[in-house]
């Protein structure tokens, strides 16, 4: 895939120049996951595995509906089930489809040290170009959502591609196609935001006063959005971050520190060079040799 011309990059990892970006007349896309409509059937998980030819290793039953228990190099999306009691003591079964959020400002891409291993297309999709991946795990540190997983077999990092190959040719992602309740929608980000607005109105009328859209601005918004019935507390949905943002440690490391460190190293080299030019080498003088000989042979006549 990477051999095909893309020419619509808006971001490319470890790249200081503007990547090929001339074909930018594209709408930003978004996947909208309406948590309130999800029935937890896992058709999206199956569709993801089928389209992407992924077969995670068979796991064990751990007393939870989550299956597999976590995302993995070959499990790019996982339904996370939470039993939650509201203030009145009513039980709610919260089901959230977890996976890459396709951040507008992707922490993985910011942290990646390998040129072109992570790219963002003009439509907003964040994609891993695996042949450039060096398996360092920096994307894991950059991600505010704990999404990328590194394969112990090929030492490459993997995550949801938002079916960039399908979207490229005008198809919706596989999970969207498979969803039987319409809980997963796909389209332009503006359309999805409008649709979510209508849906949120519905939910509010039905008593979910805090229903809202999860499109966190801490990462510049995301190209995977949730409609949550309790948008005031996203973390009840199996730890969805309340206010996700790229860690300050990553920002320091990849922002201010990177040029500063190189400048410091260069300055030290220059200081050495100019010391050489100004002061020059420190060489042993004949009088040093004489003095040393006098010390070694104190009984000799002074030379």
């Amino acid at each position: 895939m990477a051999d095909l011309q893309s020419q619509d990059y808006i971001r490319r990892s470890a790249t200081t120049m503007t990547p090929p970006s001339i074909r930018d007349h594209e709408q930003e896309v978004a996947k909208l996951i309406d948590v309130s409509r999800c029935i937890g059937c896992k058709a999206c998980q199956s569709a993801c595995m089928e389209w992407n030819n992924l077969r995670p290793e068979m796991g064990y039953f751990e007393g939870s509906y989550d299956n597999p228990l976590d995302l993995g190099p070959s499990a790019w999306t996982v339904m996370r089930f939470t039993e939650w009691e509201d203030e009145k003591g009513n039980l709610e079964w919260l089901i959230r489809k977890d996976g890459c959020m396709h951040c507008e400002d992707p922490g993985c891409l910011k942290a990646c040290p390998s040129p072109g291993a992570i790219v963002q297309y003009a439509n907003g999709i964040v994609d891993f170009i695996s042949e450039n991946c060096i398996g360092c795990g920096y994307c894991v540190k950059g991600c505010p959502f704990d999404i990328p997983r590194i394969s112990p077999v090929d030492h490459k990092s993997y995550k949801c591609t938002l079916c960039s190959d399908r979207v490229d040719v005008g198809l919706e992602p596989a999970c969207v196609k498979a969803c039987p309740t319409g809980a997963i929608m796909f389209g332009s980000k503006t359309d999805m935001t409008t649709w979510a607005g209508e849906r949120i109105e519905d939910l509010k009328e039905r008593g979910f006063a805090n229903a809202g859209l999860y499109d966190p601005q801490g990462v510049g918004g995301t190209h995977v959005m949730y409609v949550l019935h309790h948008a005031d507390k996203p973390s009840i949905y199996a730890g969805l971050p309340d206010k996700p943002h790229i860690s300050v440690f990553v920002t320091l490391w990849k922002g201010l520190y990177k040029p500063l460190a190189l400048a410091g190293i260069a300055a030290t080299v220059l200081a050495g060079f100019f010391h050489w030019v100004v002061a020059g080498p420190n060489e042993v003088q004949p009088e040093d040799d004489v003095a040393a000989q006098n010390l070694l042979h104190p009984t000799d006549e002074p030379r």
């Binding site: 200081t16 390998s114 060096i134 440690f249 190293i265 050495g272 002061a279 040393a292 010390l295 070694l296």
Partner: protein, 217 residues
Amino acid sequence: MTRPRETLTRNTTAARINHWITGGCFVLLLLSGLSMFHPLLFFLSELFGGGQWTRAIHPWIGIVLLVSYAGLIVQFWRDNFPSWDDLKWLLAIRRVLVNEEEGVPEVARFNAGQKFVFWSMALLVPVLFASGIVIWDVYFSPYTTIEQQRIAVLIHGLAATAAIIVWITHVYAAIWVRGSVRAMTQGYVTPGWAWRHHRKWLRRLVATGSPGPRPRA
């Protein structure tokens, strides 16, 4: 090896081998580490067979360096023990920097600058090792939280830059003070060199009749 008469052993063969293993590892770590630090230097990863190889080999070289530097600590810590004379020497550093060492307090085997290099690395190498283990993703990622790894990778970068700056100083000083490189390649210095740069060391060797590197007990 041809070695003129009356020269003094500055570094034993074991110390020199130990030093160059450390130095070789440091250079390899610097090249591979910088390639993963700044995009402009990513091309350095080609020296190691590409990005995957660089990522895989860097920590192993680090382990060799840790062990090797431990050897240097064992061999050199006594002569690097700080003393009050170091302070006096530092107060006269302006004269040292312009090659006017006459009148500067006499120096034993190592001056305060050399001691600084030694102890800086004695601190930075373990810091780099500990933070490096945390971000050695292949084997150790399950044992720490992602937040801990973020902190470790920042510390690793900070400590690495500090170590590189110390290393540049070390290399430049060896080039600047003529005769120092031979002291670490062939192992010897002339009495005149010792008189000029490490007079207290020379006096002790002469007083105990030692050929170096340490005075006879």
